[in-house]
């Protein structure tokens, strides 16, 4: 239980760190760490498939994308660094939010949990995806196609023009 909550706290810390990091590269890496923490939480919840996907895709692929983009703009970014004061205020803001929310949110979430409805559970992830969430598969296909066309559209081949 403590371990479980600790993982959540860790995720929160990584999140804050990712925002506060001075270098964008650190931010990207902290985001990857956040993803790793989230995937650990998934494992801890007993959701291995989600954890594996999270670890490989989010902590892996997305981080690679981020690092690529960051390296592209790093030179410019370093010339015009951001005003850091706003980010130094983040822990303070988080603390204020956390303390203020402590009085309201847990009680509210407890109340929310009373409206729960237990499911049968069981089944395998493959069956669940295929039987229950089949339209989502179509959505995924569409999403991937859309991603390809977005990249094609934003970065067109312009060999014939030049």
């Amino acid at each position: 239980m403590t371990y479980h909550n600790l993982l959540f706290v860790l995720a929160a810390v990584f999140a804050v760190w990712a925002v506060m990091a001075k270098k964008l590269l650190t931010s990207a890496i902290m985001l990857a760490s956040l993803s790793a923490a989230v995937s650990l939480i998934f494992f801890d919840f007993g959701a291995p498939w989600a954890g594996v996907f999270e670890l490989s895709v989010c902590a892996g692929l997305i981080t690679v994308l981020f690092i690529g983009a960051v390296s592209l703009i790093r030179a410019e970014e370093e010339k015009h660094p951001e005003n850091r004061t706003r980010f130094y205020a983040l822990p303070l803001a988080v603390a204020i939010f956390a303390i203020a929310a402590w009085f309201y949110l847990p009680a509210f979430f407890d109340e929310l949990a009373t409206g729960r409805q237990m499911a049968a559970g069981g089944g395998t992830i493959g069956l669940a995806l295929w039987d229950l969430r089949r339209p989502d598969m179509l959505g995924q296909v569409l999403m991937l196609a859309a991603g390809v066309f977005v990249i094609k559209s934003v970065f067109p081949r312009r060999t014939e023009n030049k």
């Binding site: 479980h4 919840f45 592209l72 949110l105 847990p106 407890d110 237990m118 977005v150 970065f155």
Partner: protein, 101 residues
């Protein structure tokens, strides 16, 4: 206080962090990172809700789809970032204020 409430409390804090980032940051990369943080928190809420109701398989099925979406969204966001960088030579979203009135 139940575990569930604790989990969601922390999730709320993470969401707050993400939104703060989106509000405070000028860099499009950090904007995207803030977005990522928010969506990570949203995923956590799904899995937590699934665990609470013993519906983890279903929740995992959702999360897998969400991860696919997330990748494409981030890719699209980064593509826009790069295009903006090529056009304007910066990745500062606060400078984008030519459309107004």
């Amino acid at each position: 206080m139940s575990t569930f409430a604790m989990e969601w409390y922390l999730i709320a804090i993470i969401i707050f962090t993400g939104f703060y980032c989106m509000l405070a940051s000028r860099s499009i990369v950090r904007q995207l990172i803030g977005l990522e943080i928010v969506s990570k928190a949203a995923m956590l809420s799904v899995i937590s809700a699934g665990a609470l109701t013993d519906n983890l398989v279903y929740a995992q099925a959702l999360i897998i789809t969400m991860i696919v979406i997330e990748v494409v969204v981030v890719a699209a966001g980064l593509a826009l970032l790069v295009k903006n960088f090529r056009l304007h030579g910066s990745a500062d979203i606060w400078k984008l204020d030519s459309l107004k009135g």
